[in-house]
């Protein structure tokens, strides 16, 4: 239930910032109508795929996760750039491996799989229950994932005690 209000507030702020016309009643009315339409569509989806996971805790703790992820993305970018520019010195050894997932809720697993795909050098191929199939460009990239640092951080986001 609180997600409905969060969605309305978020969409309204998003619309206001994107449009920039804050004093024309016609355009403001159209904005209200589009926010209402999107909220209605989202509610229709939620009726079938209820959002009962720990979404709020994840949303509130995002600021602690993104700076770390950004540093990881820069590191991974440098690793892939080395493979692109110096293929003799840093050869690519593509590999596939199934990894166990630490995060439990659906939304946390989605965040985890998306973060893996977002960092260059590793791509999530499949997510099945508590296992994910990861394709990595180099063995170092896979080793970084296997230490489970990213999984632990996402697990902390969802709040393991609740």
């Amino acid at each position: 239930m609180p997600y409905r209000y969060l969605l309305i507030i978020g969409l309204s702020i998003f619309w206001l910032l994107l449009s920039g016309y804050w004093d024309n009643p016609l355009i403001l009315g159209l904005g209200v109508a589009s926010v209402a339409l999107s909220t209605w569509l989202a509610m229709r989806i939620e009726r079938d795929y209820a959002f009962q996971d720990r979404g709020l805790s994840i949303l509130l703790k995002q600021p602690t996760y993104w700076p770390w992820l950004f540093v990881e993305i820069i590191k991974a970018n440098i690793a892939v750039l080395r493979c692109i520019w110096l293929p003799e010195k840093y050869p690519t050894t593509p590999l596939i491996r199934t990894l166990k997932v630490a995060p439990e809720s659906r939304i946390a697993r989605t965040v985890y799989a998306n973060s893996i795909t977002l960092t260059p050098g590793t791509v999530t191929i499949k997510v099945r229950n508590q296992e994910i199939l990861v394709y990595a460009l180099t063995e170092e990239g896979m080793a970084d994932l296997e230490t489970g640092e990213m999984g632990r951080r996402v697990h902390k986001l969802e709040g393991s005690d609740t």
Binding site: L18, P94, I96, R97
Partner: protein, 114 residues
């Protein structure tokens, strides 16, 4: 002061262009679909970030820069979904990736390291 901001924004734009170029070169240099995916993800992430940062520095902080931040955030949120969909579709239809290490070896190594 203006010169410093201008210089910073130029550095950001040049780094972004360089990253975009390396992504494009990587797409041609890598041999098959799955590895090319990774070259493209360099362009997806840091290249977008640096170009947007350069443009924000050029425009100053106003509504335009807020929109640029939205562009980066939306690209970073939807990019992985698109690449995951592509890779999964390729894997599901049976395109086998050429592996440097076979799956059996890699799972064995995975066990020994933990």
């Amino acid at each position: 002061m203006e010169i410093i901001i201008d210089g910073l924004s130029w550095i950001c734009l040049l780094i972004g262009c360089g990253l975009g170029l390396s992504g494009a070169i990587g797409i041609f240099r890598f041999k098959e679909f799955y590895t090319r995916m990774h070259a493209a993800s360099v362009t997806d992430t840091l290249c977008v970030f640096f170009i947007a940062a350069g443009m924000i520095l050029q425009s100053g902080f106003n509504l335009v820069s807020v929109k640029l931040i939205f562009v980066v955030a939306l690209l970073w949120l939807t990019g992985p979904v698109a690449s995951h969909a592509l890779v999964r579709a390729a894997y599901q239809t049976g395109l086998k990736p050429k592996l440097g290490i076979t799956r059996k070896q890699s799972s064995l190594r995975g066990k020994s390291s933990t």
